[in-house]
């Protein structure tokens, strides 16, 4: 329908081309029967057309926001309207729906097919698999279709929407125990339980701003929890790394390829345990003794490096649990934050009541003290970590900081100081002339 030379440029090259893909869908839609589509036939073509125009203008052609949604939910739908609807009527409305992905994104094809059918029928047929937060993103439909889609999805697919707006966002987790030998916690179960337990918080915005949960099975952080969630749940252990000395020898001898072969695209020479593991250990707590690899576990910071490089010889300990880190976010407004430790270690079992208790205390505090659009990480910075800990009832621990304060600007409380704060100038002046 439109001339799209710049967009078509993107069909070339080896990497999967979303343009080529979109064009196949566009073609398909051209041929589809009218009753197989509840929205504009040319929706995909118009989208590509508007993209071309955006390239030319160097500016987006979507209008600002727009509040749409499904009844009773405050999130899950992002309203979107073209600002050149006369040129691209197919995308005059082009709302996305965020669909809560299953934990760690395993699918049965029957579900995916149903979803594809539904979305081709009532929407553009375009997906993001997946959105940055983890949702299945259904890209582009009209306002009228929102309720029917929700109805079909809940009734036929047993599937709910995800989060958007000032609420709990769709939690997400790494593959964990499903296919990873490093997992110290059951990320899927934890993610699922928290998602289900906090359905209300997820669907009905009542927070000062967005709030994200992410669950990583170990400090490798494959779901980026430490950088992208208001509470990062990260599996770890507190006993000793398990060592199989025979396997260590096999690594040294070159019988097992290090890091599971993840670097074998280049010839790095023979594996050197000293240079590649021991010298790179951030806490310098490893050494060789009589051909055995020794670890001073008390000084290990559980960085995973040695385990990553020699997964057949080393394994996390067995006394596993979770570390809670709080406050990661993107730079708007105070600058980006990586999450900070607030619970160095806790044991927990489904239904994770002790973890929920911490979560709820944090929310309570945030809802009370947080300003509009203030993330929890910013709030902690504003009120100070000591005060935050006091209110949440967590004991201060050196694990929460990289280093003690350098400045001596301590907020003493009245009860800390003998005699309190109130003093009498007369008494003082009796001792000290002006």
């Amino acid at each position: 329908r439109h001339e799209i030379p710049k967009v078509e440029e993107l069909e070339k090259g080896p990497w999967p081309s979303f343009v080529a893909d979109a064009k196949q869908e566009a073609l398909r839609r051209r041929k589809l029967a009218d009753d197989r589509m509840m929205i504009d036939r040319y929706v995909v073509e118009d989208l590509l057309g508007q993209l071309e125009l955006s390239f030319e203008d160097g500016e987006t052609h979507w209008k600002h926001g727009g509040i749409v949604g499904v009844f009773g939910y405050g999130g899950g739908v992002i309203g979107r309207y073209s600002d050149v609807p006369e040129k691209f009527p197919g995308i005059a409305h082009f709302h996305t729906m965020r669909v809560n992905q299953p934990a760690s994104k395993f699918y049965k094809t029957d579900f995916l097919r149903l979803l594809a059918d539904l979305w081709e029928y009532r929407g553009s047929g375009l997906f993001n698999l997946h959105g940055s937060t983890g949702d299945i993103i259904l890209l582009g439909t009209t306002t009228e279709q929102l309720e029917p889609i929700f109805y079909d999805m809940t009734h036929e697919l047993d599937q709910d929407l995800g989060g958007s707006g000032s609420n709990l966002r769709t939690p997400s987790c790494c593959i964990g125990k499903a296919r990873c030998e490093f997992a110290c916690i059951d990320t899927q179960e934890m993610c699922y339980e928290m998602t289900m337990h906090y359905q209300d918080e997820l669907h009905r915005p009542a927070f000062p701003y967005k709030f994200k949960f992410k669950f990583d099975g170990c400090p490798n952080c494959c779901v980026a929890s430490i950088a992208r969630s208001d509470i990062a749940f990260i599996g770890t252990w507190r006993d000793d790394i398990r060592i199989d000395q025979e396997a260590v020898k096999a690594y040294i001898a070159g019988d097992i390829v290090p890091r599971g072969g993840a670097q074998k695209g280049r010839d790095w020479g023979k594996f050197d345990i000293q240079k590649e593991v021991i010298d790179l250990c951030p806490s310098q707590c490893m050494w060789m003794e009589d051909g055995k690899l020794m670890i001073d576990n008390e000084n290990c910071v559980r960085c995973m490096h040695c385990i990553n490089v020699m997964p057949r010889a080393l394994k996390p300990g067995k006394d596993t649990g979770v570390s809670l880190l709080v406050g990661a976010k993107a730079p708007i407004l105070e600058g980006a934050q990586i999450a900070q430790v607030i619970v160095p270690f806790m044991k927990t079992e489904p239904p994770y009541d002790n973890v929920k208790e911490v979560i709820e205390k944090i929310w309570e505090f945030w809802m009370e003290e947080g300003k509009n659009r203030e993330r929890i990480g910013e709030l902690i910075q504003r009120v100070g970590l000591p005060k935050f800990l006091e209110i949440i009832g967590l004991p201060p621990a050196p694990q929460m900081i990289k280093t003690p304060r350098a400045n001596p600007y301590i907020f003493w409380k009245e009860e800390d100081v003998k005699g309190g704060f109130t003093r009498d100038i007369k008494e003082f002046r009796a001792r000290h002339k002006r």
């Binding site: 030319e56 160097g58 987006t60 395993f106 699918y107 940055s132 582009g140 699922y192 390829v257």
Partner: protein, 366 residues
């Protein structure tokens, strides 16, 4: 009546049902893994079971047709199961080496009409994996650049690093089209970030009707916005442009402050961030190129810079060394020297925690 028969709060499907049997049977029992070749993993269970994973790139933005094709493949080889990774790659899991071979052959043969691979195999180990990214011109109202096109342009150019495992360590590239950073680029080895460089325009005609002016004023982190009146005496705002840092937060709050501009907008490149706790602590990416133009659709300047950085890193870094660890080891002054990227005043921090980025020692290289 929308509440009729209404079902709500049912959440996602339960994960267990989505697991293929080999995963169900070996849940929590995995003993170790190996990357057999780029894109092909095997995980071995304590029970002796093995699961083979073939990982393929994906554009993330995909159609129903493409989803069905994925399902076809999964039905054919994987008993109807498939998964997606946290970086938007597609994973086909099978339980025998034979199936791996058949699957690989099948996948390699699938191409779009234009010749691009539909399912390029790779994205494991010391590679450039798929680029995490955002909506851009495809769906968002605040972008300073486009996402899908830039990702395609970059991935085409670094394709060999996706299908190979030749790097010292993994290189994670992320992309976000505005400072909101939905691509969470703030901790990536290489981050591509859309930036605005002109202050918002004020739509005086409507601003007092469509926006809460006091809220907009307080949304500016630098206090650049203040109340004003139009010649006609209407309430409006004014912006001190020398105070504006083009963050776009005011536009997020108020549609009458559009900030996008053809000449103003472009791309910043950040490098050296990471997420994992392995060896070094997670860290932020740092701005090393303040601006490159939005040269649609293939962003040659951006692509070349990314490639150059990867190449210099690949040649110079030590085994296991992430990009940021390399830059810190050699020193940022050497990073600029080696990559040939010019150092400009824009790269010097002048925001809230700037002091901590200053060199407060005589330890530097010439």
């Amino acid at each position: 009546n929308p509440t009729k028969d209404r079902i709500t709060d049912i959440g996602p499907r339960h994960y267990w049902d989505n697991f293929p049997p080999v995963i169900q049977n070996n849940y929590g029992k995995w003993a170790y893994h190996e990357v057999l070749e780029p894109g092909v993993l095997v995980h071995v269970s304590e029970t002796g079971d093995r699961v083979y994973t073939v990982r393929c790139g994906s554009a993330r933005l995909m159609t129903a047709a493409h989803v069905r094709e994925i399902c076809d493949i999964a039905d054919k080889y994987c008993d109807g199961y498939v998964r997606f990774t946290t970086r938007n790659n597609i994973e086909f899991l099978v339980d025998s080496p034979e199936k791996v071979e058949a699957l690989k052959k099948d996948l390699a043969g699938r191409k779009f009409a234009s010749g691009s691979y539909k399912f390029p195999i790779g994205g494991t180990g010391a590679c450039v994996s798929n680029i995490v990214h955002t909506q851009g011109y495809v769906h968002c109202h605040t972008p300073a650049t486009d996402a899908s096109s830039m990702v395609k342009a970059v991935m085409d150019e670094v394709f060999e690093y996706f299908t190979g495992m030749t790097l010292p360590a993994k290189v994670r590239v992320s992309m976000a089209c505005c400072l909101n950073m939905c691509g969470a680029v703030h901790c990536s080895d290489i981050a591509l970030l859309g930036i605005h460089r002109k202050p918002p325009i004020i739509d005086h005609e409507v601003i007092d009707q469509v926006c809460e002016l006091p809220l907009v004023i307080s949304s500016c982190p630098l206090g650049a916005i203040s109340p004003d009146k139009t010649p006609e005496g209407r309430r409006t705002l004014k912006i001190k442009s020398e105070r504006c840092m083009f963050c776009g937060n005011c536009y997020t709050m108020c549609p009458a402050l559009p900030i996008a501009d053809k000449d103003g907008d472009g791309v910043a490149i950040l490098v050296g961030g990471k997420l994992s706790n392995a060896i070094s602590e997670p860290k932020f990416s740092k701005v090393v190129v303040a601006y490159q133009p939005n040269n649609f659709p293939r962003f040659p300047e951006v692509v070349n810079t990314v490639k150059k950085i990867i190449e210099v890193y690949a040649a110079d870094a030590r085994k296991h060394e992430r990009l940021g660890d390399w830059a810190e080891r050699i020193g940022w002054e050497k990073f600029f020297e080696k990559t040939g990227i010019p150092f400009t005043e824009h790269l010097i921090d002048d925001y809230r925690l700037a002091y901590d980025t200053f060199r407060t020692s005589t330890q530097f290289k010439f």
